[in-house]
Symmetry: C2
Amino acid sequence: MPSIPLPKDLRINAARFLADFEALAAIGSTQDGGVNRPALSEAHLQSRVWFRERAERAGLVVSVDGAGSHFARLACGQNPERSLLLGSHLDSVPMGGRFDGALGVAAALEVLETVREAGLHLPVDLEAVDFTDEEGTLVGLLGSAALANHLQPAEIQNPRGGRQRLLDGLQRAGLSEAGLFQAGRDPASLAGYLELHIEQGPRLERKGIPVGVVTAIVGIVSYRLVFEGRANHAGTTPMDERCDAGLGAAGFMLAARQLVVQSFPECVVNVGALKLEPGAFNIVPGRAELALEFRSADQQTLDQLQQALLALAEREARAAGLSVTVVFLGRHEPAPMHPAMRQAIGRAAADLGLVTLDLPSGAGHDGQSLANLCPTGMIFIPSQAGISHSPHEFSAWHDCVNGVNLLLQAALNFNP
Amino acid sequence: MPSIPLPKDLRINAARFLADFEALAAIGSTQDGGVNRPALSEAHLQSRVWFRERAERAGLVVSVDGAGSHFARLACGQNPERSLLLGSHLDSVPMGGRFDGALGVAAALEVLETVREAGLHLPVDLEAVDFTDEEGTLVGLLGSAALANHLQPAEIQNPRGGRQRLLDGLQRAGLSEAGLFQAGRDPASLAGYLELHIEQGPRLERKGIPVGVVTAIVGIVSYRLVFEGRANHAGTTPMDERCDAGLGAAGFMLAARQLVVQSFPECVVNVGALKLEPGAFNIVPGRAELALEFRSADQQTLDQLQQALLALAEREARAAGLSVTVVFLGRHEPAPMHPAMRQAIGRAAADLGLVTLDLPSGAGHDGQSLANLCPTGMIFIPSQAGISHSPHEFSAWHDCVNGVNLLLQAALNFNP
C-alpha cells in the first residue's frame, strides 16, 4: 500500500506537464519553433479552448471574467471564499516564443492537478489564471488591470494596438467594452498571486543559478521628445548655420546612455524609435521625434532618472541650437514583491535544494496590477542567452520542471 | 530721332520683366505666396502654355524636344547652326517658392526680346530654354540629362519620384519614354549655356554683394548606411550587453559633422533620414538605416571625403559592437564652370558696376548636365536669409533686375 507523501515531498508529474507544454506550443506555432498568438487572435482563442478543456479534464471549475481572463478553480480551501491565484498569460507577442506566459499557465494547471491528486486541504482555494493581453498587442496588462479595477477608459478609447484591433478582438472573443469595466474583483477574495515566468534576461544563466526570486517589477516611464530646428537645403546651407534636429537627437541618445551607465547603474534607458523630418537626403532635418523609455525597480530612483533625462534633453537641444518639446506618455510605478511571498519562495527553494538569486524584473508583468491588490510574488527560471520575445527564446527542460515544483511548494508554503 | 544704344549700354525692360515674373508666379500659386508646380503636374504644364504664348508674342520660334524641354529661338546669329542657350526651369519643388527656376526662364525670354528689339546681330542665335524636371520630383535634371544624352535607362525604370508618377506625368504632357532617349542634342549646335538663378544660400546677402559668379556646381554623393546590432528587450537586457544600432547611427551622425567642420571646411554633409527597427519603445533597435549625402565642388576632395566618411562609419560601428553595410546610391561629379563664361560674366558685371563674389553652387543645377557639352556658366543673385525650396524664398526686386541685365550683357560679351 503506497504511502501518502508529506506535502513538502510532493512533486509535479513532469511527463504530464511536458505534454501540456507541448500541446500549447503547437497552437499558433510558427515554422521557426515559436508561436504567434497575439491577444484575442484566433490562435490565442484556440489556446483558451485548450485551457478550458484541460482544466475540466483535471476536475477544475472554469470561469471567464468580463475581460476574458480564464480561471480554473480547485476547491481545496478551508476558506472557500478566498483563493491563491497562480498563473500567467497565453497570449504572445507577434511571432514570439513558446515559453513566455504559456510556461506559467501550464505550470499553474499542473500544480492544481498535483494538489487535487494528493487530496490536500489548504487554507484557501487555488485558482489557475490566464490573463488577457499581458503582452500589449491590444492594451497591455488588460486582464490584470481589469481585475484590479484600475483600467482607464482612455486606454480603451486609444489603445496602443489601435482601437479597431481591440474592437475586433473583443468581438472575436465574445467580449464587450462594458464588460472590461465589470471585471473588477473583490480584493478580499484574493489571498495572493504567484507567477512562474522565464527571466527574459541573461543574469541567471550567466551566474549558473536555477531560480530567481523577483524583488520588484520595474517601473516604466515613457516620453516622446520632439527636437525642433530648421529644415534647410543640405547643399547651400553652411555647416555652421544649420539647426539640425537630427544632431540634437543623436547627442541626446549618446548622452542618455552615458548618464545611465555612469550614474544609474541599476536602471536602463532606450531610444527605440526616431523619425527625422522632412526626411529627405538633401534636406537638413528640421524636426526629430524620439521614443524614450526608462526603467527602475525603485520609485525614488525612477524620479531622479526622469529629472536627469529631461534636463539632458534640454541641455542637448540648447547646445545644438534647437528647442525640445517633452510629451509625457505614461508611467507604471515599480511594484515591489510581497515579503511573505518572497519568503515562501525562498523556503521552498531551500527545501528543493535550489540556489536562488534575488533580482528585479526588467520586464512588465501582470504582477504589477496584482501587487496593489494582494501579496504578489514571481519566480524566474533562466533564459538561454537572455533571448526573449523571439522564436529563439529557450529555457532548459530541467529548469522548467524545477520552476513548476518550486511554484507548487511556494504555494503550499504561503500562509495567506 | 532716338539714338541706337551701343550693345554695352543695352538694358532690359524691367516693367515688362516684372509683368512676366508675376504672371508666372500666379500659375500654381499657393496661399502663402509660393508656387506648387512639380514637374509635369497640371500647374507646370500650364506654365509651359504661358512660355509658348509669351515666346510667340515676342516673335520667337518655339520647339519642344522629346523630354518636353521648351526652347524659344531668336534668329539673331551670323551662324544660325549654333546657339547660346539661356534659361532655367519652370517646375518647382512641391510647395516651393516663386523665384527658383522661374526667374531664370523669365530672364532668358526678356533678354531675347531685348536683343530682338535692339535689332542686334550676334555671332550665334540665342535660345531661351525651360528644362523639364530640374527639381527631381520625377527623376532630377531630366530635361538637361536627356539633352546631354546621358540619361540612364535605370533612372527611368526606377525613378526617385516613383515609376507611376513618371508615367502619369509623361502621359499628361503627351511625352513618351522612348522620346526621352531621343532628346539628345548635337553638341556642335551649342555655343554655350548661361543661367541666372537665386543663390539659395546666405553668402551674398551676408556679404552685401549683389552678384555671384559660380565657380563650380558641387558634386553630390549619396549612400544608404545600415548599422546592424541585435534587437532585444529594452527592460531585461543590461545596458552593457546591448548592441544598439541606434547608438551607432547617432555616433556616426555627430562624428560625420565633426569631421567635415574640422577637416573639410569647404564641404557639407547631411543625414536627412534615419529609421530604427523594429521601432518600438520597449525594444533595443537592432537595425538603423541612415540616408547620407555629402558635397564638394572639387572632385579630389569629394573622393577624400567619401573615403573618410565610410571609414568613420566602420569605426563607429565597431565601437558600438555593430556591423555596417554601405549601399552606394549615386554620384554626380562636380561641374566646374567654363573660364570663358566666368570671364564674360565678370566683364559684364564690371561694365554694370556690380561687385561680384566667386562662389560654388551647393545645389545641383541643369548646368551640371550642360558642362560636359558646351561652355557653361551661372550667375547667382542674393537669397534673403538663404531660404530656399520654401514659399518664403525671396530675392529683392532690384537684385533680380540687376541679374537679368547681367545675363543680357554676359550673353553679349561671350565669344562663342
